[in-house]
């Protein structure tokens, strides 16, 4: 498995931090709602010259309604293709249930055309929506640690991996350091490894540990260290 740290675009300290802490790759969070930033080429360039591997771009600031959301994502897919970025991660705009497949047809077509994969956040999808995925290169980031987000235990996580279409897995600690909350991260990781998962993993929102900077680097460091240790112990 490849362990990624999520960093914000434009914050050099976070890139250096990821490299120092030994992240295998970074996922760069990019604000699609900022009209000044529409080009993803600088995102890829900065990561590359920093000596890191770019595992994907996580889009934030997307519209809540489907059509503008879809338009934004289409634009981002084209920008990603131009920048040589192969994965975009994002949350779906609203919960569509029965119409999701139809609604996403255009997005699926664009992913096929651009060769850029989209990973939708499982914690924002209904079970019936999850069942529809993957559709072409529209796949799933499986979120573990959020009830009802697709897998509430190791067996369900393993089953999800078996079913395919999981391109990334994210562990949410619910405001606590990984290993201190309700989710049994080690059992989950063992289960998905046993199920053959070898893709991207990352920690979710980092916990606030004492006084900290606004991006919670202490919590991010703690969670990255935790995941690194579990991965090493599996080997």
């Amino acid at each position: 498995m490849k362990l990624a740290l999520t960093v914000r675009y434009g914050y050099d300290e976070e890139l250096i931090f990821a490299q120092q802490l030994g992240a295998d790759a970074v996922i760069v969070r990019f604000d699609l709602g900022d009209p000044r930033d529409t080009d993803l080429a600088p995102v890829a360039h900065r990561v590359r010259v920093a000596g890191l591997q770019l595992a994907g771009v996580e889009l934030s600031g997307m519209a809540d309604q489907f059509q503008p959301w879809s338009d934004g994502l289409t634009g981002a897919l084209l920008a990603a293709q131009n920048a040589g970025i192969d994965t975009l991660l994002c949350a779906s705009p609203t919960q569509h249930a029965s119409t999701l497949g139809q609604d996403l047809e255009a997005v699926v077509a664009t992913t096929s055309m651009t060769g850029v994969r989209v990973c939708l956040d499982s914690s924002r999808l209904l079970p019936e929506e999850l069942a529809w995925l993957p559709a072409g290169d529209v796949q799933v980031e499986l979120v573990l640690g959020v009830p009802g987000a697709g897998a509430d235990g190791p067996a369900q996580a393993a089953a999800r991996v078996h079913s395919g279409g999981i391109s990334a897995i994210r562990f949410e600690g619910g405001g606590l350091p990984l290993g201190m909350g309700a989710i049994d991260v080690t059992a989950m990781l063992r289960a998905i490894a046993a199920a053959g998962y070898d893709g991207l993993i990352r920690a979710g929102a980092p916990p606030l540990l004492g006084e900290d900077d606004d991006w919670n680097p202490k919590g991010a460091a703690n969670d990255l260290g935790y995941l690194r240790a579990v991965l090493q112990s599996l080997r």
Partner: protein
């Protein structure tokens, strides 16, 4: 095995430790008064931690200024010994179970703190060839020079002399520790080189740690097992050492650190990239039934960190917790 950090009494530091989900801390010794640390000083500090649901498990370390004359074997050692014994009695009265001490007459040694690590992280490094011509190897690292300890030595001291001083100390102090209910734990010499500036360093291999244990056999006489230091001892396998010393129940306290290299030169790196297989080491701790405190030790300097290196320590706490939990989960399957 309980994960701990070295704590201060500051509210911010205590909040950080609590937010990591830790319940155990180690802390240095309060100031002495006329060569003795009063029981009230220990109790006051203990109670500050207790109010935040933190247990003060280990005193790290016995202040060298309480026993430097003993280490050097001067005429002042009898006077200092009385103060050390009374201090240990006070530690026992305050209910703190472990006191770590070291027998490094010239302190810890490092020769560099350079941005040569992963992503430019700063790694403390040691190189014997550099240190032999550099008094600052100890004075810069330990903050000495202006104080009584450590200092550039007045005369050479042989290994036999330094051992004799330690044995004199142990024979006097261990019975007091037994009566007080305090476990005293010897930290090995860091860096584990045989001499520095003409003064012998004696706790530099696993046999020497065994000799400390055997000098005064007692349930209260043991070792502060610094994985980083022992990992840098020439030819030593840390896993074997955990089994040998830990298997006797003689580890009262442990340090979690992963170096790369062994003397004559080494560097302190992140725990996931050093020479020690840390997963195997944690498994070894579990196999020998170690249930004491393991403290996150020195760590590399990372970008934007504060003076306490909270970011770097947070990484290591997460790393150690991940190993402990993962190995426990794996053992249960």
């Amino acid at each position: 095995m309980k994960i701990a950090l070295h704590a201060s009494e500051s509210a911010d530091h205590i909040a950080f430790i609590q937010s990591l989900g830790l319940s155990d801390v180690v802390c240095g010794m309060p100031a002495e008064i006329d060569g003795v640390v009063p029981v009230e000083a220990f109790e006051q500090r203990r109670d500050i931690f207790a109010r935040h649901n933190l247990h003060w498990d280990v005193i790290e370390n016995l202040s060298p200024t309480l026993y430097d004359e003993i280490m050097f074997g001067t005429a002042e050692r009898e006077r200092q010994l009385d103060g050390v014994c009374r201090t240990i009695e006070n530690i026992g009265k305050a209910g703190i179970p472990v006191l770590q001490y070291q027998w490094m007459l010239l302190g810890g040694l490092r020769t560099e703190y350079s941005p040569t690590g992963r992503g430019g992280a700063r790694y403390p490094r040691f190189d014997s060839a550099v240190a032999q011509h550099m008094a600052a190897a100890c004075l810069d690292w330990m903050g000495g020079g202006k104080h009584r300890y450590p200092h550039i030595p007045d005369q050479p001291l042989s290994s036999e002399q330094v051992w004799a001083h330690l044995e004199w100390f142990l024979k006097a102090v261990v019975p007091v520790a037994e009566s007080a209910g305090v476990h005293i734990a010897a930290h090995p010499d860091d860096a584990p080189v045989p001499e520095y500036l003409g003064v012998a360093r004696i706790l530099i291999d696993v046999d020497s740690l065994q000799r400390v244990i055997d000098t005064v056999p007692s349930p209260n006489n043991g070792i502060g097992f610094c994985m980083g230091t022992i990992g840098t001892m020439a030819g030593v396998d840390v896993i074997d050492a955990i089994h040998r010393i830990g298997g006797q129940g003689k580890v009262f306290f442990a340090h979690f650190r992963n170096p790369r290299g062994q003397v004559p030169s080494f560097e302190e790196v992140f725990p996931d990239e050093g020479d020690i297989d840390m997963a195997a080491a944690v498994a070894a701790w579990q196999e020998v039934g170690f249930d004491g405190v393991i403290r996150i030790d020195h760590c590399p300097g990372v970008v934007g960190d504060n003076g306490r290196a909270d970011r770097s320590f947070a990484f290591q706490v997460g790393y150690l917790r991940g190993l402990i939990q993962s190995l426990a989960t794996g053992a249960g399957q």
